[in-house]
């Protein structure tokens, strides 16, 4: 890790902060081993048969990490996510900065939506975007509504100053109409 991390070890409290700051920049060049991110890992409704299934494999390392979210922000533009969803306010596609998730707002839901596409117009990017980059885009999408840690969220944009930066976005609380939301997988 970087030298500021090694130099700041005197106070325990500061050490905790520093470790968090190191995590903020942590990189996995090839990406973590990918668990089951297919249909079995996500749900799109809020109704179960019997007891809720245990949550699928977590990929939270992407959304607590400034590098990945920053990469996601760039990829969001490069893969034309922004031409349909604007800077989160929506256009052809729905807004991504509000408190509603049609197909689920967890990292795994968003990852699945990008890969699988959705029936009312969301194109499938399966085989078009490398797996790790899909996670990065998904993490960035969550930052649009303040779901990612502020320390890891982007603080500036290169484009028209159209809205508050992700770092300053108030955290939206997904409602019951958002399948796969907090109630379902206990992510809050």
């Amino acid at each position: 890790m970087s030298s500021p991390c090694r130099s700041a070890v005197s106070l325990a409290a500061l050490a905790v902060l520093t470790v968090a700051a190191c995590d903020r920049e942590e990189r996995e060049p090839r990406g973590a081993p990918v668990g089951d991110s297919g249909p079995a890992a996500i749900t799109q409704g809020t109704l179960y048969a019997g007891q809720p299934s245990p949550p699928g494999p977590s990929h939270r390392e992407y959304e607590g990490n400034a590098y990945h979210i920053s990469q996601g922000k760039q990829l969001y533009v490069w893969f034309n996510c922004g031409t349909c969803h604007a800077n989160g306010g929506g256009d052809i596609g729905p807004p991504l900065m509000d408190d509603q998730w049609i197909y689920g707002g967890t990292l795994e839901n968003i990852h699945a939506t990008i890969l699988q596409g959705r029936p009312n117009g969301m194109p499938s990017f399966r085989g078009k975007i490398p797996e790790q980059q899909v996670w990065e885009i998904a993490a960035y999408v969550r930052s649009l509504s303040g779901q990612t840690p502020k320390a890891a969220s982007p603080g500036r944009s290169d484009s028209l100053n159209a809205k508050p930066d992700e770092q300053r976005m108030p955290r939206e609380e997904p409602k019951g109409s958002s399948p796969g939301g907090p109630n379902l997988e206990g992510r809050q």
Partner: protein
């Protein structure tokens, strides 16, 4: 003539009003009637003349514009194509409802379409049946006007692909069906043209024309000319290659297809092609005026209006913006985008072309309505095609040759200074040109233009063109667009806001002979509905809050209004019902690019939502909700 018209209106219904135009009181709150181009002296003369009744002159000697005779047959009470006639006048000769009794207008019947998206289509009426096409999923309804309450006669569900919703730039709209020879023709969002039997709703044929995986959709209203159904594609924001095609009305087979970019052979430019200006001449300009191969994804779609002059045997249609929006990615004139074609409907061969916006900088599709009018220009009657363009100028062209006879601003413009009539060139303002890495501020008009697709209407009684338009300006930042088939290809971020004066919409009555506004009415929201004018000297249009209004066509005075269930972006029509009485009909149901903030429930905290439109009308969410409903109005005596 306006002074006479205004004075007649002053006497109208015994209302006492002051004679000076600017002080005419207004029945409604919020709207602002302005009589422009009327000098005080002229008004005083009008006052002195008192109750002079204007003669509805139809002859050219009066110095008035008239519709092209061959393209505007006598009104039979039906409404068989969105433009009413081939001249696209949107004028009804019905006069039972008029300035004297419109205050009594009331709802005769309604019909829910069950669709939430923006309803931009007009109803059609043919021989006692009304036909309505909805936005995606493009359902077609036939209502029996001969029975009380106009019950459903049949419905037709084309079942288009749901994924098409993802490649529709500006809501899932449809701008209307067409009727000819017992058949109805509709286009579907997923790129099909379908013919059904008007009597039964039975499907006769369907032809797949567009590919949604290239970003192609179809939203325009077809036009049937000489047994051919004319259809063009949408998708200028997706890097599609624009085209207009003609289908055999009986079988659906393709008779010809004219692309808007590429080699002359694809554009159907051949020996018949005789443009007026040198700038439109040259071999394969649809290839050479682009960077290598950029024409293959260069836009120039044909999603707007078509008119037809049977006398000259020419159809007129526009071509939309080049792609991507970022102009620096496509140096060159980008032929044949952003212009007007005249073509032979039998072969598709081009006769002339005029590029309104060479190397378009602002998404200024040249697809608006084309009114075929004969009018005096410098003392001589000319056969013209008149169009209020997206760039803010009202163009009058010789429709035989493509010569620009005049181009006058009808809205606030600071991005260009005018049109050189000798060369046809539009002079742009360098400081307002988009540059990569720079935010260019306060550009007027905006990307949707001073006026978008929503068509104006022309009354031969007043000689005025009634233009529903906008008053918005924008900031623009170009970015590098990536082409990924099936996703948008834009390369610009935009935010829009109200233009000079703070109002966002305006209805202008324009005199094409005097080349000036006769009067205009300001509206709070941008106008996204079409206009209708009638022989009762009425002008009808709707607002995005949901008001359906009737104005005195001579003065602009509001005479009646009705609040419909949702914002109005449809095209009103007037017809004579089976009972012999006049009806006025309009579809309510907000949406379109202007209404995307409501139908898409967009988040206007992002100023670039809906390509910058959402922020300009963020308050619309507090004024209306979505939902399609037909409203039909009539006078009360027969109920």
């Amino acid at each position: 003539m306006y002074t006479v018209g205004a004075s007649a209106a002053l006497e109208h219904q015994g209302r006492r009003r002051r004679c000076f135009g600017l002080n005419i009181p207004d029945a409604e709150a919020g709207a602002d009637v302005v009589i422009s181009r009327l000098t005080g002296a002229m008004v005083l003369v009008a006052c002195a003349l008192g109750a002079a009744v204007p003669a509805p002159a139809q002859d050219a000697s009066a110095g008035k514009a008239i519709p092209a005779a061959a393209a505007s047959p006598a009104d039979d009470g039906n409404w068989v194509m969105p433009g009413k006639d081939y001249a696209s006048t949107r004028y009804s000769a019905q006069d039972e409802i008029n300035t004297g009794n419109v205050r009594d207008l009331q709802v005769a019947f309604t019909f829910s379409t069950g669709v939430e998206r923006g309803h931009e289509a007009p109803p059609l009426v043919v021989g006692g049946t009304m036909y309505i096409v909805t936005p995606y999923p493009n359902r077609l309804f036939a209502l029996d006007l001969t029975k009380p309450g106009a019950p459903l006669k049949w419905s037709f569900d084309p079942k288009p692909a749901a994924s098409a919703q993802g490649v529709a730039c500006c809501d899932y709209v449809n701008r209307g069906p067409a009727f000819a020879d017992g058949r109805l023709f509709i286009n579907t969002l997923d790129g099909q043209t379908i013919a059904v039997a008007a009597e039964t709703g039975r499907e006769l044929w369907r032809t797949q024309l567009g590919d949604i995986n290239k970003g192609e959709t179809i939203t325009m209203a077809p036009l049937v000319v000489k047994g051919k159904v004319l259809v063009g594609n949408s998708g200028g924001e997706f890097g599609v290659r624009g085209w207009l095609t003609a289908l055999d009305a009986g079988t659906g087979t393709i008779a010809w297809k004219a692309y808007s970019t590429g080699p002359d052979a694809d554009v159907l430019i051949g020996p018949d092609y005789k443009p007026f200006y040198d700038k439109e001449k040259g071999k394969d300009l649809g290839v050479t005026s682009w960077p290598p191969d950029a024409w293959t994804i260069g836009g120039g779609t044909v999603w707007g209006w078509i008119s037809y002059d049977p006398e000259l045997n020419l159809i007129y249609h526009g071509t939309a913006n080049p792609g991507p929006w970022n102009p620096e990615q496509r140096p060159g004139d980008n032929k044949w985008t952003g212009g007007i074609f005249a073509r032979n409907p039998d072969t598709g061969q081009a006769r002339w072309f005029y590029q309104v916006v060479p190397h378009d900088l602002y998404d200024h599709d040249a697809i608006n309505e084309l009114l075929l009018l004969d009018l005096p220009v410098n003392g001589a009657m000319r056969k013209t095609v008149v169009r209020p363009e997206r760039n803010g100028y009202l163009y009058v062209l010789d429709r035989a040759t493509g010569e620009v006879l005049s181009a006058d601003p009808y809205a606030a413009i600071n991005s260009s200074t005018g049109v050189d009539l000798k060369t046809g060139e539009l002079a742009m303002v360098e400081a307002k040109a988009p540059k990569l890495g720079k935010v260019v501020r306060d550009i007027c008009p905006t990307a949707p233009g001073a006026k978008d697709w929503n068509p104006s209407a022309f009354s031969p009684r007043t000689g005025l063109i009634y233009i529903p338009h906008m008053n918005l300006c924008m900031d623009w930042q170009s970015s590098e667009a990536n082409y990924i088939a099936g996703t948008p290809y834009v390369g610009a971020e935009v935010r829009m806001f109200a233009g000079p004066g703070g109002h966002r919409g305006e209805l202008s009555a324009w005199d094409p002979v005097k080349r000036a506004k006769a009067w205009s009415v300001k509206e709070d929201f941008p106008l996204w509905s079409g206009a209708l004018t009638t022989a009762g000297d009425l002008l009808f249009y709707g607002t995005m809050e949901g008001w359906f209004k009737a104005l005195d066509a001579r003065t602009g005075e509001e005479l009646w209004r009705f609040k419909t269930g949702s914002g109005i972006i449809g095209q009103p029509i007037a017809y004579r019902g089976p009972d012999g009485h006049e009806y006025v009909a309009v579809l309510s149901g907000v949406g379109g690019w202007a209404g995307a903030v409501v139908v898409g429930n967009l988040d206007p905290r992002d100023a670039t939502a809906a390509k910058g439109f959402a922020t300009a009308v963020a308050d619309l969410k507090t004024k209306t909700t979505k939902g399609g409903m037909l409203y039909v109005f009539a006078l009360p005596q027969r109920r």
